[in-house]
Symmetry: C2
Subunit: 243 residues, 2 copies
C-alpha cells in the first residue's frame, strides 16, 4: 500500500537511506550500484539519483575514482552537526521574536506544548510516541515562526545531517528515569522559548534555542558512554566511529 504510488526514485531513496541508517552496510563500505539496485528491486538510474541525494545529505561520500561509500562520522562530527542545527534554529527563533508571530501560530505552539505535557504526565506512564511526534511538531512550528521559507528549508536540511535531528536520540527503550528528567527539562525550555518569542525577546529566544539543541548532544554522550547496549537501537549510530 505504501509502495503503490511511489516513484522508483523515492523507493530507492527511502530504501537505501533506511538500509544505511540501520547499519546494513559497514561504515566506509563501498556500494556497488548494481548490487544495491538488485537489493532494492529497482534499476540503476533511480538508484543513482537516490545516491546523489544521499551524498548531498552527507550519508554517502563520493569516491574520486567513481562510485560512493558509506560515510563515517566521528563524535566531533555529531557535536558539530548538533551545534549547527542549534545555531540555525536559534536564528529562526531570533527572527521570529524580531518580526513577531501571528496569534494563531503562537496558539498552535501552545497547543503542541500542552500535548507534550499530557504525553509526559500520562497516568499510564509516559506516552513516548506522542512525545516524539509533538516534539517534532514543535520544532517544525519553530521553523515556521521565522517567517522565512529559506530558514525553514535549511533547518530541514541540517536536521538530515546524521544524528542532528531533534528526534535523533529519542528512542522508546530510553524511557528510563534519567531520560524522563531530560524530557521535563526540555519541556521547560520549550515553554521558555515560546515565552521569549511571544515577548519579542530576540537575544533570549536565540540563546534558549541554542541551549536547547545541546540536549541532543547530552543525550548522545549519555547513550554512547553510559548506555552502550542501546546503541543499536538508535538509527545511524552504527556510522559513528567507535573512537
Amino acid at each position: 500500500m505504501s509502495d503503490r504510488n511511489l516513484s522508483q526514485l523515492d523507493r530507492a531513496l527511502f530504501g537505501l537511506r533506511s538500509l544505511i541508517m540501520n547499519g546494513e552496510f559497514s561504515s566506509g563500505q563501498r556500494l556497488s550500484e548494481v548490487a544495491v539496485a538488485k537489493m532494492l528491486g529497482t534499476s540503476r538510474t533511480p538508484l543513482r539519483q537516490a545516491m546523489d541525494r544521499l551524498v548531498a545529505e552527507g550519508l554517502l561520500v563520493r569516491i574520486e575514482t567513481g562510485g560512493c561509500r558509506v560515510a563515517t562520522f566521528t563524535r566531533a562530527d555529531i557535536a558539530d552537526a548538533i551545534e549547527i542545527r542549534g545555531v540555525i534554529e536559534g536564528t529562526a527563533a531570533r527572527m521570529a521574536a524580531q518580526r513577531g508571530v501571528s496569534t494563531e501560530l503562537l496558539t498552535q505552539i501552545a497547543d503542541t506544548l500542552d500535548g507534550i505535557d499530557r504525553a509526559i504526565n500520562d497516568p499510564g506512564g509516559i506516552n513516548f510516541d506522542c512525545y516524539v511526534k509533538r516534539n517534532a511538531e514543535f520544532h517544525a512550528l519553530l521553523a515556521k515562526c521565522s517567517g522565512s521559507d529559506l530558514i525553514r528549508s535549511e533547518i530541514e536540511r541540517v536536521s538530515l545531517l546524521p544524528l542532528a535531528s531533534p528526534s535523533a536520540f529519542l528512542i522508546e527503550q530510553a524511557a528510563i528515569p534519567d531520560f524522563l528528567d531530560s524530557l521535563r527539562y526540555a519541556q521547560r525550555q520549550h515553554r521558555a522559548i515560546l515565552e521569549a518569542i511571544t515577548n519579542r525577546e530576540c537575544a533570549r529566544a536565540e540563546a534558549l534555542v541554542r541551549e536547547h539543541a545541546r540536549l541532543a548532544l547530552i543525550n548522545f554522550n549519555y547513550l554512547t558512554d553510559d548506555q552502550p547496549t542501546l546503541v543499536n537501537n538508535v538509527p545511524g549510530l552504527t556510522l559513528v566511529a567507535s573512537k
Copy 2:
C-alpha cells in the same frame, strides 16, 4: 583545454549553472531536459544529475508533476540567505576562537589580509581581481579555522545560495567611490576578526563576522536601489523578483 578532462556531468553542471546565473532563462521558466541537453551538447542522463544538484543548491525548484523550473527569489530571500551565511560563518569564527588556531593558519590569514591591503592601495588604482580573489581566500581560511570539516562544507554550501556568497556583489564595474569605502571598511573588519580569533575572544569573533556578512546585504540594497543600471552585471541578480 578546460573541457578536456571534465566529465559530462561537470560540463552540464557548470554550463547550466552559468546559463541560469547569466539570465539566459527567464526566472520561473520551466526547463525542458531535451532542449537544455541539446543546448549543452550532452545527453539527458548527466544533465539530469546536474539539475538534481542545482535543485539541491536552490537554483532550480522541482515541479510536483515532474521537471523543474528556474527559481525565483524575493529580496527577503536574499536577505535571509546572507543572514544564514553570517550566522554559520560566525559559528566558525566562534569555534576558531574557542578551540584556538595554529600559528601557521593565523599567519596565512595575515598574509591574505596584507594582500588585500596591497590590492586596495595599489598606486595604479584598486586591483579588483586581486581583491576578489584574496577576499574569497580569507573566507575560505576562516572556514578552515573552525577546525570542523562539517562547518567548512556547510559554509561552502550556504555560499552557493544565490547571492549569499561573500563575492556575490563584488563586481569590477562597481569600482566607484562608495564601494571603495565599503571595501576599506570590510578590510578593517577582517583585521578585527583576525584579532578576535587570535585573542580567543569567542563572542566578539562571532559578532564581528555576523556584522561583516551584513555588508553583502548593504551592497545588495545599494546596487538594486541606487545603481539599477549595474544589475545586469551581477550574476544571478536577474533571478530576483523585481518587487
